[in-house]
């Protein structure tokens, strides 16, 4: 795992690709989270609300971005994680997650990360920030 001495402002996590996001991925997340809003798996329902098809759950992309960060700096070390939703993610989309250190607090031994999950061929789906306490 990445250690404290390896982390300075500008240190980047290796980029990582996810997907294509399948309907199975979306339904698996809905089962894991308990959010069964049909707009995420029922095309007819989504179309009745004006969308071209069902679309992914924002919190699935958020969760993938969180996993990307915790796989890098450790699940026990995360202290804050926040996301803002930008573009929707559609079945078949591929995502690329990237992140880097934007601040380092030597006294608290914490780093702040800037994170983004980008749709391949599109824009940012999710932007995030996180704080990790690194041993």
């Amino acid at each position: 795992m990445t250690s404290w001495d390896d982390l300075t402002v500008g240190t980047a996590a290796p980029e990582r690709g996810y997907g294509p996001i399948s309907r199975t991925d979306i339904v698996a997340y809905q089962g894991a989270s308990g959010d069964f809003n049909p707009i995420h798996h029922d095309d007819e329902f989504a179309q009745s609300a004006g969308y071209p098809s069902a679309f992914s759950v924002g919190m699935l992309q958020a969760g993938i971005l969180a996993s990307y960060a915790t796989d890098w700096l450790g699940p026990r070390n995360v202290r804050t994680f926040g996301v803002q939703f930008r573009e929707q993610v559609w079945p078949g989309d591929r995502l690329v997650c990237a992140g880097s250190v934007i601040a380092r607090d030597d006294a608290a031994r914490t780093v702040e990360l800037e994170l983004v999950a980008t749709r391949v061929g599109g824009g940012a789906a999710i932007k995030g920030t996180a704080t990790f306490a690194v041993e």
């Binding site: 997340y29 308990g34 919190m59 796989d71 450790g74 929707q88």
Partner: protein
């Protein structure tokens, strides 16, 4: 129309048990490959796991019913989690309470007036210690949701 008198309203606290199998299922569904979630006997929860609180909240008690948002125009704008130490581990019983922290309006670029509703959910362990907080931003758009933005 959103009811701003709901600021400060809370729902009734309830308990949520962090279940081992649910932590694994959630870590897999969010594509983690960390053995700290997938292999150890007492995994910590993933950062966004507290969204599974929807399995535990009693029906009809959500503070959202007091805010009176129009569900056809509702977008999830953002979500933040804070952990006051390592995230809670499987087996922990959390006591959960949500309050309406703020409601405010902004003029949108395209969709007319947008109303922002901020809720904060507090999670306390068996000793009453505040271990985690979830802050959620819900947006009611001025006209029905489109493909752009939100999720």
């Amino acid at each position: 129309m959103v009811d701003t008198s709901a600021i400060g309203a809370t729902d009734e606290p309830f308990t949520m048990v962090v279940e081992y199998g649910k932590v694994r299922e959630f870590a897999r569904a969010t594509k983690s490959s960390s053995p700290d979630y997938l292999e150890v006997a007492s995994p910590v929860i993933p950062p966004t796991f507290l969204t599974t609180v929807s399995f535990w909240s009693p029906p009809g008690q959500s503070v959202f019913s007091k805010v009176k948002m129009d569900l056809r125009r509702l977008l999830h704008g953002g979500q933040e989690y804070t952990f006051h130490g390592p995230p809670p581990v499987a087996g922990t019983t959390l006591t959960v309470q949500t309050r309406v922290d703020d409601i405010y309006q902004k003029e949108g670029k395209r969709g007319g007036t947008m109303t922002f509703v901020i809720t904060v959910t507090e999670f306390r362990d068996e000793s009453g210690t505040l271990v985690a907080e979830a802050r959620s931003t819900a947006i009611e758009t001025g006209k029905p949701a489109t493909q752009e933005g939100g999720a």
